[in-house]
């Protein structure tokens, strides 16, 4: 839990913050976080990974979240991706109040609204590229012929139509990440959420992947990249600097 150790400095309890003036969520935003707290109970001690984070993301933005390890950026990414729920605060994603959802509703949001791209690709080793890309559609309840068609389109979008029947171990790192990106895109999610997407790739391949993100952004996708590398963050149009569980700086780049 290295992410939270920095946040153990004695801070006021989140209860105190509830009395502060609260800005209602912006219905025009795709993502609207208000006073998000994430608190972990470590034995008898409450550890705050996020100290009341608030920000908005408009549709079509390309954002980088950057911060040193332990800053709370992984926690924030898990919250944005609906893998986790906040201890306190409101999170609206695409007009839905995610902060009050149960497990199955969150699974549905992850399936429909979020496309994950991970540092280590996280493909199913035994499945073909096509099947990996089809997986979100299977859980989304798409019929098989349509599923096939959509998965092929997604693979075409990342220029991997010639690798459809390959398994991950038959693909290069860059190709694997492109399969993962196709999987993230196949359900037409509201946001593409990438966690250190180039962390396991060499420089050249990293640049290719970042070029692909840029292209996808131009296509109208909303992209959030979580990274600790400044040159990766510099590709985004807006950078959120996270430190000690708070947004230290919200920087418009372009």
């Amino acid at each position: 839990m290295s992410d939270v150790t920095l946040a153990t400095t004695p801070l006021s309890e989140p209860v105190v913050h509830q009395t502060q003036v609260r800005v209602a969520h912006d219905p025009a935003s795709l993502i609207s976080m208000r006073e998000i707290w994430k608190t972990y109970q470590m034995g008898t001690e409450a550890v705050h990974a996020l100290h009341g984070v608030s920000f908005d993301v408009k549709k079509g933005e390309y954002i980088a979240i950057i911060g040193p390890s332990g800053s709370g950026k992984s926690t924030l990414m898990n919250l944005i991706g609906c893998l986790d729920t906040a201890s306190q605060g409101e999170y609206w994603l695409n007009g839905k109040n995610v902060s009050e959802m149960d497990d199955d509703e969150l699974a549905r949001i992850r399936n429909q609204e979020v496309g994950f791209v991970f540092q280590t690709f996280n493909l199913l080793a035994r499945a073909t590229a096509l099947h990996n890309v089809e997986l979100p559609l299977i859980y989304g309840g798409v019929g098989s012929s349509q599923r096939h068609e959509m998965a092929k389109q997604a693979l075409k979008a990342v220029d991997l139509l010639d690798r459809v029947t390959h398994r991950p171990n038959e693909l290069s790192g860059g190709q694997r990440q492109r399969v993962a990106i196709a999987r993230a895109l196949v359900n037409h999610p509201s946001i593409l959420l990438a966690d250190e997407p180039t962390g396991a790739l060499d420089t050249h391949t990293s640049m290719e992947i970042m070029d692909l993100f840029e292209r996808l952004h131009e296509e109208g996708n909303t992209i959030i990249v979580v990274t600790h590398e400044h040159d990766i963050a510099a590709r985004a149009h807006r950078i959120l600097h996270i430190r000690d569980g708070l947004i230290e700086r919200d920087e418009k780049v372009r």
Partner: protein, 453 residues
């Protein structure tokens, strides 16, 4: 550049309600309905594919997991199949004499206790006079006869056959009561019987054992020695076959008078009574019981020993039924134990499988698998293992029964219901033993699971 248009345009996005946002992958059905029907089918099929591929990639582990289930199911299938086969043999054996025959004797065929033995030995012998009284007085009776048995050695020239059943019968309708028919030659005449002539009708085993399998015609007219006394063969019986490996054709029929001459008249006899149809059996039994009670000096409803035994072939069937039901019970016990052990093994392997595939579970959850999707996936995997085990068990069970039936010699009856039961019960074992591991998998935290190696 043929890139997809991956999202609806910002303008339409903001004006539309989110749930109505057009999606390529959505069927135009009410949301609830479409998600229930299609999600389940697609996810179930996915779960099945994942299950079979994970079982294939762990062949040794899978087959070891199956052992318990296979043993349990094959034991049940083998025993059920064997007993069904024996049932058929027993039923056809007793139906040659059939449920239209009952007997009056001094002692029942089965004596259950020492006390009974003492009681029965005080009884008066059943005599020829009893038989004649029954034949004369019982209007519901069709055929009445007397039979007595002895075990003797049969010799012809230098050939000899031991443990042959010698059956002294009278009148010749006893052949009909016994359900045997003449294949060649003839039955003795009234005159031959009353003058206690040494004539005999032999079962086909006698031809096989002392006439080197000669045709029946060649044996007729020959003289054999039964227990040292000479008898002339005048007829040969049709074969009846064997039961439990014991031949029913190793028999020599002689007139009852000749039997008495050879073995004495002091022994109690057995009276055989046959009725035309099974429906009349009870009426005939009542009449005969009354006649015998009168002859033993018992009044109606008097307490104490009746003084004779009235039995049908049901006694054997009862005994047989008790024996087989005990075998069933023992087998069910064995099967239950091995299914429980098998279930625990499956549970253990499923827990290992869940731990091994924590990362995979994390990935699936991250891209939208719900708890019940993961739960079903692992349940299906457990059920697939045990159902395959059950199917193997059914096959080996039938195989075992086939070998045993070939060795002992009874018909093999492949029972579809027991095959379905075998697979069904093992599937239930799969559900039960898969439930806990599947539930553990389903409630894994996606973040923790993704962090696993």
């Amino acid at each position: 550049m043929a890139l997809m248009k991956l999202n609806a345009s910002p303008e339409s996005q903001e004006t539309e309600q989110t749930d109505q946002r057009p999606r390529l992958g959505r069927l135009v059905l009410p949301k609830k309905l479409s998600s229930i029907r299609t999600v389940r089918l697609a996810a179930l099929w996915e779960a099945f594919l994942v299950a079979t591929s994970s079982l294939r990639s762990n062949k040794l582990r899978t087959s070891l997991t199956l052992v318990g289930i296979v043993v349990g199911v094959s034991a049940v299938i083998a025993v059920v199949t064997i007993i069904k086969g024996l049932d058929k043999t027993v039923a056809s054996t007793f139906s040659s004499q059939g449920s239209t025959v009952f007997t009056i004797s001094k002692n029942p065929q089965i004596i259950k206790s020492r006390e009974e033995f003492v009681t029965f030995s005080k009884r008066k012998d059943v005599t020829h006079e009893d038989e004649q009284a029954i034949a004369r007085l019982c209007s519901a009776c069709w055929r009445v006869g007397v039979a007595a048995n002895a075990i003797q050695t049969v010799k012809y020239a230098d050939q000899k056959s031991e443990n042959v059943r010698v059956r002294g019968v009278t009148p010749t309708t006893m052949f009909d009561i016994d359900g045997v028919t003449i294949d060649a030659g003839r039955i003795w005449t009234e005159g031959e019987a009353s003058s206690s002539r040494e004539v005999c009708v032999v079962g086909p085993d006698i031809l096989k054992n002392v006439f080197a399998d000669a045709p029946p015609d060649r044996a007729i007219g020959q003289e054999i020695r039964v227990g040292g006394r000479p008898y002339e063969i005048i007829g040969v019986l049709e074969p009846l076959g064997s039961i439990f490996g014991f031949s029913r054709d190793n028999v020599v029929y002689i007139p009852y008078a000749s039997y008495q001459k050879a073995y004495g008249a002091r022994n109690s006899i057995v009276v055989f009574i046959q009725v035309p149809t099974a429906e009349q059996l009870e009426a005939a039994e009542d009449q005969v019981r009354t006649i015998m009670r009168n002859r033993r000096g018992k009044t109606f409803n008097e307490d104490g020993d009746e003084g004779f035994a009235l039995e049908t072939q049901d006694v054997f069937l009862d005994l047989y039924g008790k024996a087989t039901s005990n075998i069933y019970l023992v087998t069910i016990g064995v099967a239950a134990v091995s299914l429980v052990v098998g279930g625990i093994v499956v549970m253990n392997i499923m827990l290992v499988s869940v731990t091994e595939r924590t990362k995979e579970i994390g990935i699936r959850k991250a891209i939208g698998a719900r708890r019940k999707d993961i739960l079903t996936q692992f349940l299906i995997e457990a059920v697939t293992v045990t159902a395959i085990g059950g199917a193997f068990g059914v096959l080996t069970g039938f195989g075992l029964a086939y070998v045993i039936s070939a060795l002992i010699g009874f018909p093999l009856l492949i029972n579809v219901a027991s095959a379905v039961m075998g697979v069904g019960v093992s599937s239930v074992v799969g559900i039960i033993s898969g439930l806990w591991p599947a539930w553990r998998a389903a409630k894994l935290d996606p973040i923790e699971a993704l962090r696993a190696e």
